[in-house]
Symmetry: C2
Subunit: 203 residues, 2 copies
């Protein structure tokens, strides 16, 4: 492991991304060290020099990815007091930003959660909790309800925004045009806000 950490950051990232990509595409069993080495442009022997065993490499990736991910969560504390729509908008932008900056890590973590038989690592369980907490910050509050023309719409609109968020994140998938989709999402939220809020709350 020290052997690997002594490499240049670029090379570390290159190797990590190759491994993350292979494992998330094929799963632990079907991903082979040969594939990873080839994709990283290094020899198989080097991989074993760095990590010892396949399982060791995988565990390193789990730990590194969840650490990285938690750091993102940390620096992304939501403004708890912001308006409902602003909170949702900020959350989706964060999600997209993260997806853009760490595509391999996001895909890998999702794949780890799908791994059969192997009990989900503690790190990943922690991550799930962290995600739950984030989601809770988005929830509707009483303070928001008064702004709605029809407050009884609010819960369903919240669900709607969740669907939109999932949909947008899902549609991205390798598309490089992040800015366009972020812009569209902002316009969608503005439009919905206009139709659902009372006039006096449209800033």
């Amino acid at each position: 492991m020290e052997k690997f950490l002594a490499l240049s950051d670029e090379k570390q990232t290159l190797i990590r991304n190759a491994a993350l990509s292979c494992f998330s595409q094929h799963g632990y069993e079907k991903a082979s060290i040969n594939d990873i080495a080839k994709m990283a442009g290094i020899s198989k022997a080097s991989l074993f020099q760095y990590f010892g065993t396949k399982q060791n490499l995988y565990e390193y990736l789990v730990e590194h990815s969840s650490t990285q991910m938690k750091a993102v969560y940390q620096e992304q504390a939501l403004y708890a007091n912001a308006d409902f729509f602003d909170r949702v908008q900020q959350a989706i932008i964060m999600k997209i930003d993260n997806l853009k900056k760490n595509p391999y890590i996001v895909a890998f973590i999702i794949s780890v959660a799908k791994e059969p038989s192997i009990e989900i690592s503690e790190h990943i369980k922690d991550l799930m909790q962290e995600g739950e907490k984030h989601l809770h910050d988005l929830m509707l509050r009483d303070a928001d309800l008064v702004k709605f023309k029809h407050p009884e719409d609010a819960p369903l609109l919240f669900r709607t925004l969740m669907h939109i968020g999932y949909g947008i994140v899902d549609e991205i998938e390798g598309v490089s045009d992040f800015d366009r989709i972020v812009c569209e999402m902002e316009n969608i939220l503005k439009m919905l806000k206009y139709h659902f809020y009372k006039e006096e709350y449209l800033l």
Copy 2:
């Protein structure tokens, strides 16, 4: 091949589903005949008895799946004259219904489109076109625009509904509670219609 078609329908389906599942999970190269045979509960030798080669089995699945899928498209002609929201609602319900009835086939076709190196089979290309045509039937028409409080909202609302559709379909993923999500989707569309349509068009 005739050997396979002579089997009972239930056994055919059992074997097909096992193969569809393996291929869509692991891709052509990494899916093994052993896995498929084990999942289907038959011997590997039988699979070769039925299909001759791995590639033959795969090609049969592509053909069968696209045929099945086209049949679904055929019987699902959209009412061209219906109201905008009704068309969208009907389309999403169809999508969900199809996903519920043919989960293995849908997943397999998506995986075929992702297969690297192998040129996309003609059948699948046809399917894509069919899907495009379906989508075109959803498009906004001039007749719809007059119903909107703000006709300029319509294109963006259309995009919004697409996102919601993708989001909902994506969230389903094995969840058995189709009816609940269909119901929620209907409520969402009703709510949006209420806020975006002029009063006199709210039937």
